[in-house]
Amino acid sequence: MNLRSGWLAVPGFISIAVLATMLSAYSGASSSEGFAPEQPVAFPHTVHVDTLKMNCLYCHFSANRSPDPGLPAVGTCMGCHTVIATGKPEIKKLAAYWNKKEAVPWVRIHKLPEYVHFPHMRHVNAGVSCQTCHGDVQKMTTVYQANSLNMGWCVDCHIGQSNPPFRARYDCASCHY
């Protein structure tokens, strides 16, 4: 490598790195969109939501009154599954946890960074459907992250772009504090 190309390599490296970082940040490449981990119990949202028409709030019971949507207790599952479909392998797994008095260690899919505050109840009570952010969960045999959940994706909706009936404050300190 001669001197000239060496001098060019340094700014070249920096500018490409910066470009790549920005591209990644704004394209959603740094998000975990599509993340579909294997869960300890293969819970089919399809059966519960699509077939049985259970309301999301039956299990995610605090989504309309808390920042936290609520995660069903193992007891909630067992409320039905002590009698329903007890012979199926996945239910046996669930019952095994229950009998051991252990919580099911679900793998978290949707996670915002800790410097973002997302109050579920504000969104649910404003009429934003669960599917707006979480995708068509009722059609997911294995739940995956349907959207990037990046800031630009949030802001699109807040400024009334992507979902015209909705608009909300887009001041930084609405979410970042």
Binding site: S24, R65, G70, W106, P113, V116, D171
Partner: protein, 1059 residues
């Protein structure tokens, strides 16, 4: 690699190399946030709780004997914040720094994890079953040997049912009643009050008094029921026209002293001479000769005292003549007709009844030494630390065959125990208190126990059940059932009382005061020879040392000295000068009980022949944080006053320069305002006439620095009234500070008339409209007509300096609310500067993180002689409308929100620190070491301290600037609540953590743009000013000037030094 390739620039291979590395770096960045987390559900959902929504439990604070009501905010099973209970008759919603810090006791990383037994000299974990069996067996052995009558049970002093329950338990096993020990109490005053008023602690009606003379009584800090006294005192002083004058007499100017209008520096132990003068029993000359005070000052005091009725005389200070002094003060109150008017025994605080005195503990030490104590039980108290070392409690303990500690935390006493049965923290157990007559304050668990501990009451019941003879007396399963069985109304009554944790009635069993222990006459005050008087006083925050392992209390600067993490010897600057001592130079203090070497702190509020040291620090065995500093009780001789209290201030000491130097660990830059007008004051006369005589040196700053101004008028006598409208009632901004008004015609942009608090939410220059278009004239959310309505609010705060006492409760509340890390522990410093290690090393480099601090400035006595005035200024982010920090941020991490907040966006911040450099208020704090990151050595929240972290507030990482947010999380929470209930925010619906906690009600927070909020009204006060108004920062924090009350005929201390 040929030269001709150079003409085309970068070669393909180089390009690929760069591209490859860049992508790798990006994907690594991308992966960083994708750690797989688990979501752990409940097995069975608990009733009545919603995840992410707080549950509030009303309970009782047990950090001191007063028994304040607290509301414990519990989120997802963990208590994260304490607030005062607004309905509680004692603290009325306020909470002091020690009460706030109860959480750091609950989550203390050094707490005992479970029961322990000493085997071969070391403590080993055992199960509760083994521990209880051992306890029962050893107890039976003691009894079979006939030793039960010689057993001693020392309990941390508290009111309520437990003391009676404990005595009944002890009596059942043939053991004598317990000793209820509070090392921090004013035993001489309690004894005198009982003798004179028939109650241990009367309520003090400050607002009825015209003159308060405090003979060493530090009633804002450590003397009695501190929170209600502070509330009443602030209320009395806020009423400017009827405010009582406060004169503080004592060898060291304590926090109460700094709040006094006048300080009379007498020699330690000579307060009695001044009491005699006030009683007309001696002349001013005699009192002057005894106390070392100018006879004219004393004469004026006596004359003022005679003229001012009703008055109030309070005594304290802990000298060997403490009982006589307290009796003399009470006699003065009686003879002047103050009892029932300003001193109200009928409404007294019961927290100080039935208290044992230190002389009883000394007697126990003597008996232990003689080998006549068969068993020692200690719960809560720490006599091995809080008694003077010369009492020899530690050594004597070794001669007791069976020692049980019920302490939740390791301490100097439990360190010597054979068996440790750790008690629940008060926030984990049932109990009650009777803080005032006829009111029961309930104590209920706010969360499940953090560790494998058990309530001592339950342990006692369990042990009784193992004894066939005693079992019949304890048919109930636990202490809660016992409590319910005796509660007025039974279980239903208890359930009804729980939401407020208050009930009327009394269940304390016999409420007849125990016969006062016979006062042991102190040994003749054998004064060790020495050149100075040694004054040992309880630390304002750490008290007798029980708060020492709570990092908040170590890190929050002493309200008086501004020292943290360190023990210093305070000396008058003139004395230090005479001895050739600079700040930090070591001195050796030698008494008959021993000697110790400490760095000197020059403190103007020390009498010239006095050296003063705070207790509370220097624990060898109380945990990781408590090791900071030294314990002056090591050199206090074991003398007592006639009431049996430790004589802390009656020792003479030989003080000599030791020839060493330590850096003084302080957060203070300067104790003087240098004319900057940060803490301003106004005299009552000026307030009445609506003029500002311009005599306040603080207010003259603009005139000094602005060459276009007329310096003479600026500092002088220019009456301000006409310029901006009369600053009388209803004026928008009130009296402008002397400086800004001194220039004649108002200058354009002058904050005093351009900015009316609350009425203008300034529009950011860079407001770019809805879509961020730079060509748009649309102001977006900054437009008051915007649909979000954000710009119609202006969050603002007023701080009334006439109320603020500087107690620092707000600082502790802020630490608790906002996840603020402490940085002063000795393992948290980086190896940057050799020689600056140990506790407080980071503080020496100004790395403290407190978002709110109390600035404390002295006015007057620059010559080191006369009395001086003190200004306490709570300083937090001023949320400037025209903020200097905002335009210098290269990444827009700090900006002005439409609702008036100066916002710091942590995830944008790259840590240039330009904002901090440009902030005139120095309220931005940089996170140097990642104090919030668990994998770093500097982590400030070692497990389980991190359980306290507020989930609504981001825990900041390394390299990020942070500052006061006006508790934006509380604003958002209130907005969310209002939205859920489909209503607008109600006025004064919520407040910030500092304002909620403030025991003097100095802070008001709210929407200044809405007239219905209190803050909008408070900002119109005639005393309103902005700090550094001349910088046109348009701050959202409005300070109300302190009101000085100069003595009759005497010039105000501040005015006295105008030249």
């Amino acid at each position: 690699m040929s030269a001709d390739n150079g003409a085309t620039g970068v070669k393909r291979r180089d390009f690929l190399k760069v591209l490859g590395t860049g992508t790798a770096a990006t994907s690594m960045l991308g992966c960083g946030s994708e750690q797989v987390e688990k979501l752990i559900p409940y097995l069975v959902s608990p009733d009545q709780t919603v995840p992410g929504v707080s549950t509030y439990y009303a309970t009782t604070c047990r950090e001191c004997a007063a028994g304040c009501g607290v509301i414990a905010e519990t989120r997802d099973g963990r208590t994260i914040k304490l607030e005062g209970n607004p309905e509680h008759p004692v603290n009325r919603g306020a909470l002091c720094a020690r009460g706030q810090s109860a959480l750091q006791g609950l989550y203390n990383p050094d707490r005992y994890r479970g029961p322990m037994v000493r085997r071969n000299g070391t403590l080993a974990r055992v199960t509760w079953e083994e521990a209880l069996q051992l306890f029962a067996t050893r107890l039976a052995e003691t009894r079979s040997r006939g030793g039960a009558g010689n057993a001693v049970f020392i309990n941390q002093h508290e009111t309520g049912s437990f003391p009676a329950f404990l005595d009944a338990w002890l009596a059942g096993f043939g053991m004598p009643a317990h000793l209820s020990y509070d090392a921090g109490a004013e035993h001489a005053v309690v004894a005198a009050n009982r003798q004179t008023y028939g109650t241990a602690w009367p309520r003090l009606e400050f607002k009825a008094a015209r003159l308060i003379v405090s003979l060493g009584a530090d009633f804002l800090d450590n003397w009695g029921a501190v929170v209600p006294q502070q509330l009443d005192f602030a209320d009395a002083r806020a009423d400017a026209e009827r405010a009582p004058r406060l004169v503080y007499v004592g060898p060291r100017r304590s926090l109460t002293g700094l709040n006094a209008d006048q300080w009379i520096a007498c020699r330690p132990g000579t307060e009695i001479a001044i009491a005699r003068l006030l009683a007309g029993q001696s002349s001013a000359e005699q009192a002057a000769a005894a106390s070392g005070v100018d006879a004219r000052v004393l004469g004026a005091l006596a004359a003022e005292f005679t003229a001012a009725t009703p008055g109030m005389v309070l005594a304290g200070g802990g000298g060997s003549g403490g009982l006589e002094l307290a009796l003399a003060a009470n006699a003065l109150n009686q003879s002047r007709g103050n009892v029932g008017v300003t001193i109200k025994p009928a409404e007294g605080y019961l927290g100080f009844e039935r208290m044992s005195v230190p002389s009883e503990l000394r007697a126990v030490a003597e008996r232990m030494n003689a080998g006549t104590v068969s068993a020692l039980f200690v719960r809560g108290a720490n006599p091995a630390f809080t008694l003077p070392k010369s009492v020899g409690f530690r050594e004597a303990m070794a001669k007791v065959p069976f020692k049980v500690s019920f302490s939740s935390y390791p301490d100097e006493t439990s360190e010597l125990a054979d068996l440790i049965l750790p008690d629940h923290h008060p926030l984990e157990q049932w109990g009650d208190a009777e803080p005032v007559r006829g009111t029961l304050s309930l104590q209920q668990p706010a969360m499940d126990p953090v560790f494998d501990t058990r309530a001592t009451s339950d342990v006692l019941i369990a042990v009784a059940k193992r004894d066939p003879a005693a079992a019949a007396r304890y048919p109930l399963p636990d202490y809660r059932s016992w409590l319910v069985s005796r509660f007025p109304g039974g279980a239903a009554g208890l359930t009804a009382a729980l939401p407020r944790a208050l009930a009327s009635g009394t269940i304390g069993g016999d409420n007849v005061p125990r016969p006062a222990p016979a006062p042991r006459v102190a040994p003749a005050a054998e004064q060790s020879r020495g050149n100075m008087y040694l004054v040992v006083y309880p630390h304002p925050l750490l008290g007798d040392g029980r708060g020492a392992n709570k990092p908040w209390l170590q890190e929050i600067p002493d309200p008086v000295t501004k020292i943290c993490w360190q023990t210093v010897a305070e000396m008058h600057p003139a004395t230090a000068e005479r001895m050739g001592l600079e700040n930090g130079d070591h001195v050796t203090i030698r008494t008959s009980a021993g000697s110790m070497t400490l760095p000197v702190l020059r403190y103007l509020g020390t009498q010239r022949e006095t050296i003063a040291i705070a207790t509370g620090r220097g624990h060898p065995h109380s945990g990781r944080y408590a090791k900071a500093g030294f314990n002056p009780l090591d050199i206090v001789p074991a003398y007592e006053d006639r009431a049996g209290g430790v004589a802390y201030v009656s020792t003479r000491a030989e003080v000599a320069k030791a020839g060493g130097h330590s850096n003084i660990v302080t957060t203070e830059g300067s104790s003087r305002q240098h004319g900057r007008g940060i803490g301003q004051a106004i005299t009552l006369a000026e307030l009445r006439t609506g003029t500002e005589a311009g005599q306040d040196p603080g207010a003259s700053h603009a005139a000094e620095v602005a060459p276009q101004g007329d310096a003479a008028t600026g500092a002088g006598v220019a009456p301000q009234g006409g310029e901006h409208g009369a600053p009388a009632a209803g004026a928008d901004h009130g009296a402008p500070a002397g400086g800004s008004g001194g220039h004649g015609a108002p200058a354009p942009g002058d904050a005093s008339h351009e900015f009316l608090p609350g009425l203008r939410a300034p529009v950011a220059n860079d407001a770019q409209g809805e879509q961020g278009s730079q060509r748009s004239n649309d102001k977006g959310m900054y437009d008051p007509k915007h649909w979000s309505g954000m710009a119609n609010r202006r969050w603002a705060m007023t701080v009334d300096l006439a109320r603020c006492t500087g107690c620092s409760a707000c600082v502790s509340a802020c630490y608790a609310e906002n996840n603020i890390p402490t940085v002063g522990a000795d393992w948290q410093h980086g190896p940057v500067l050799p020689g600056r290690t140990g506790f407080g090393a980071n503080i020496l480099r100004s790395r403290e993180m407190a978002w709110i601090r109390i600035e404390r400035y002295y006015e007057g006595a620059e010559d080191g002689g006369a009395d001086f005035d003190t200004r306490f200024v709570p300083m937090m982010c001023q949320h400037c409308g025209n903020a200097p920090c905002e335009p210098v941020c290269p990444v827009y991490a700090t900006y002005h929100a439409p609702d008036g907040l100066n916002v710091q966006v942590y995830n944008r911040c790259v840590g240039t620190r330009y904002c901090s450099n440009n902030c005139p208020y120095k309220v931005r704090y940089f996170n140097w070491f990642g104090y919030g990151e668990p994998n770093r050595a500097q982590y400030a929240f070692p497990e389980p301290l991190n359980w306290q972290l507020n989930p609504d507030v981001t825990v900041r990482g390394k390299g990020v600037m942070e500052k006061c947010t006006f508790c934006v999380q509380r604003i958002r929470e209130a907005e969310n609540r209002a939205a859920a209930e489909k209503r607008p925010l109600a006025a004064d619906e919520f407040t910030t953590a500092c304002a909620a906690s403030c025991p003097s009600r100095a802070i008001t927070f709210g929407d200044a743009a809405d007239e219905s909020w209190s803050v909008a009204q408070a900002a119109k006060d005639a005393r309103a000013y902005h700090v550094f108004e001349e910088l046109n920062t348009y701050t959202a924090v409005v300070y109300l000037k302190k009101i000085s009350h100069p003595g009759p005929g005497a010039p105000a201390p501040a005015a006295g030094e105008q030249h």
